[in-house]
Symmetry: C2
Subunit: 312 residues, 2 copies
């Protein structure tokens, strides 16, 4: 199988209270592709400028990431700069230079059309809709977004949400979009728009899974002693989630069981945890499925308790 | 068996964005006692003023809470007023009138001395130390505290931490006391002071258990659609934790297994969730062990996933 992803490839400059890294490989689609390529073939649709380093293209190719859909345009690659606060849960954007990304319109090559899984990484909802119209038969469509689009393109975002199977949002984004203080009430409102599943990302607290079938699952975070750079953790989370699902045979109706969805969210948390251990996609470079298996088994130990009620 | 608790009994005035309740039964020891009395006999040490309503005394007695150690002094009962923000995770203190609590010195009656379990609710560390000196043979000692004492009585608090078995702290308190950004590093520092277990309360995200034996456990929160008033949730959490432990036979060395400690933390989360459904201790009034069992089984379903790694 293969996974189709459309999103940004960027050069990131990140400052933490302890370190600084300039012009490193970044962008949601880079994190996602690097993560998902651990599980399966990835078909990338994105744009970079003529300044984009050859070494990153080589890196993608070496991981089995197809670049037929990567447009290389005269000009500068999308550049983003951010600075993290002491608690690493908050950051300020220092600059955003769209470069060639400003005129980007995704084109899904014919050779990608058989990808059963589609991830719409965080870009303008109108561009996400352009992708959905190009691949109407994707078996599973997963959507990410951000505060900016909730604020500035709410109507367009709403149309995209109505067309996808799974939505990923942070807790703040759920509150902001639904205008509900309660995450449970907000989740119900989102599921009522036609989603099969909603995944609420809680950062260092893990993630919640809500299903239209009534599924509720609280996935533990993998505990980290040290966070070097959390940039891309949410995109890598999505890569782990879709990566795992790409290895699973869905039911005859194309649906994944809630047990598979739970496992997928756990994979997402684990892959997200590896990203935080280094700048850029470096935390994923040397990662093997054996490393994921180790953290999976640890998470079972860290979060399971006696399933049998003990009479008092 | 029985559980000894020393702490505040107060009259609370609470405002939320939606409702307001004046002079209701409050105070850490009230919440703790009401919660723990669901499991076992409770021996209460506290002080109230001559204005303390008879109905609350009757309520305590009806729940099997012994009041031999409750001092009734001429004057006003400790009164506290607070206002919650829209997200219910933050509150402002509007007033604190110590009343008879200002001159309180805990006296543990002889009849309480056989209590194997001791909970030192959140009061001045010097008063907590007075209690430890009166009951040096308690089998299990559990300590709660707050930001105020970390700021103003750090040395005294440190002495108490060194003498107890289990410490309860919020995530912010761990960071504040240890001056470590990482909860894992902070937890290690606290365990190194001689604790058997540290429980880090994460509010609506559940709780973490750290053991000197290497135990690490992330307990899921019980998901709540609506929070009416979170006051006392942490004290009720402690009541569920010690309440459950009081029903368990520890090993010959007096130690509880990590499986029992995990179950105890889950009980704490469940009891804390019930408090939030109403003002004051009202969410616990009609509670039965059957209700706790129902949420326990739900939490198993909400947080457990396939314990067996699936080869990819």
């Amino acid at each position: 199988m293969s996974i189709l992803v459309v999103g940004s490839v960027a050069l990131d400059s990140v400052e933490t209270p302890f370190q600084k890294k300039d012009s490193a490989l970044g962008g949601a689609a880079s994190y996602f592709s690097t993560a998902a390529s651990l599980y399966d073939e990835v078909n990338l649709v994105a744009v970079v400028g003529s300044d984009f380093p050859q070494e990153h293209l080589d890196f993608f190719r070496n991981r089995g990431i197809n670049l037929s859909g990567l447009q290389v345009e005269e000009g500068k690659t999308f550049a983003w700069g951010g600075r993290y606060h002491m608690d690493m849960n908050h950051r300020d954007t220092l600059f955003t230079e769209l470069g060639v990304f400003a005129d980007f319109h995704p084109v899904v090559p014919e050779s990608y059309h058989q990808s059963p899984l589609l991830f719409l990484a965080n870009i303008l909802p109108t561009l996400q809709m352009e992708v959905l119209e190009q691949v109407p038969r994707a078996r599973l469509t997963v959507l990410d977004t951000m505060e900016l689009w909730i604020m500035t393109a709410r109507q367009e975002l709403t149309e995209v949400i109505k067309r996808v199977d799974i939505l990923l949002m942070s807790e703040e984004e759920v509150r902001q979009y639904t205008e509900k203080a309660s995450i449970l009430a907000g989740a119900r409102q989102l599921l009522d728009m036609g989603l099969k599943y909603l995944v609420v990302k809680l950062g260092s607290y893990g993630a919640l899974l809500f299903g239209a079938d009534g599924t509720y699952f609280s996935a533990p975070a993998y505990p980290l002693e040290e966070v070097i750079d959390p940039t891309g953790a949410g995109d890598a989370f999505a890569g782990g989630l879709l990566g795992y699902l790409s290895t699973v045979q869905p039911g005859p109706d194309g649906a994944y069981t809630s047990d598979d969805m739970k496992r997928a969210v756990v994979h997402g948390n684990i892959i997200g945890s590896f990203v935080c251990r280094d700048f850029s996609i470096n935390g994923l470079r040397e990662l093997s499925i054996k490393d994921v298996e180790k953290r999976y088994n640890e998470l079972v130990m860290y979060s399971h308790f006696d399933p049998h009620w003990k009479a008092l």
